[in-house]
Symmetry: C2
Amino acid sequence: MSALKYYFDLMSQPSRAVYVFLKITKIPFEPYAVALRKGEHRTDDFKQNFNKFQKVPFIHHGDFKLAESIAIVRYLSKQYKDNVPDYLYPSGAKEQAKVDEFLEWQHLNIRLHCAQYFWYKWLIPNITQSPPDDDKIERLESAMLGSISDFEDLFLSQGHKYVVGNTLTVADIFAACELEQPRIAGYDVCQNRPKLKSWLDSVKKDCDPFFAEANVFVDKFAKKTLAAKM
Amino acid sequence: MSALKYYFDLMSQPSRAVYVFLKITKIPFEPYAVALRKGEHRTDDFKQNFNKFQKVPFIHHGDFKLAESIAIVRYLSKQYKDNVPDYLYPSGAKEQAKVDEFLEWQHLNIRLHCAQYFWYKWLIPNITQSPPDDDKIERLESAMLGSISDFEDLFLSQGHKYVVGNTLTVADIFAACELEQPRIAGYDVCQNRPKLKSWLDSVKKDCDPFFAEANVFVDKFAKKTLAAKM
């Protein structure tokens, strides 16, 4: 089989999720870091030859180019069947459908709201060197907290340990990567949420050491934000 | 196999997409209309016994309950293999991945932006009987037009007739259902976009008569909005 090339930036939540998935499954890949901060994804060459969507993550598998993190995980689960344990992305129709249900749900919920909070509170002010609009941040924080409460209610209060059942799946990895992002902007989603904290700790432990490896920049920037607050 | 119960409201874009998919594939199902306008989805009984997400569409397949339109289509494609022609949701890893790439992409692009325009321009003003905020509508219209241009650029300008290749797939059905929604609020996405119009006409024709059947309320409300403008 052709070499699998993985293009990513560890500052991107879905990039981290696919990175952890690749490492856990031991799918062999060549890593290519794309520096979003340098605008490497904004050139015509990148659009034409690397990824028409001009974002990360994406893969090149021989001549085949694919973007969208969840499509990538589904594709790799088919192409590298022997590497992917059934608990991680189940092959059974019903079991897989419940993982898919979360993966589809998260886009317009925790993904959208945690990312928007991060962009407007931290990323855009860091690029423009202008402080964020307080009213807007308050609205975005409220939307983010609503979606985190929904996540706890709909997935962590159903009588099982993980998002879908009693074993780790890719749903947990994607959720954890999204929920860690606001920490860079100074918001720890686990504060006053013991159930969420217990779940997140389990996911991190199960993905050890790859989750920590993927989160090296999250940790670094979160520490800087915390230090600036003090 | 247990009877498949399909719960939907034809005012919901993903409800229409799954409806068209079920009709084209001739998957036998019992239809259950849920009247969102009457708040039927907001009761505790609905949350506990029908769908914890309190939205549509969803299915009950014997004891198995599943929400999220795209997870539903994938599940049904596995459970009713003989009904689903390979062109509609391909079984080949690469072909399926390209359909998945679109289905994952659309959430935070045409789905988010066309729906937000519809909610704030038409739905909320109709519920509250208060006119929308003009500045907000202008921002939402601009975001919607940006995502429609991206859709044309990334999917309809790649040298093939449909979203993914030269045959209709579920990607086209989902895209068409989202892009029709703003018409209720008085915005025809095809204006000044001959490429988009030609594609949408092809999708409608291929899904005849089910697309028209699913769009009966869209057409009705779009006519009312148009008449009110004159």
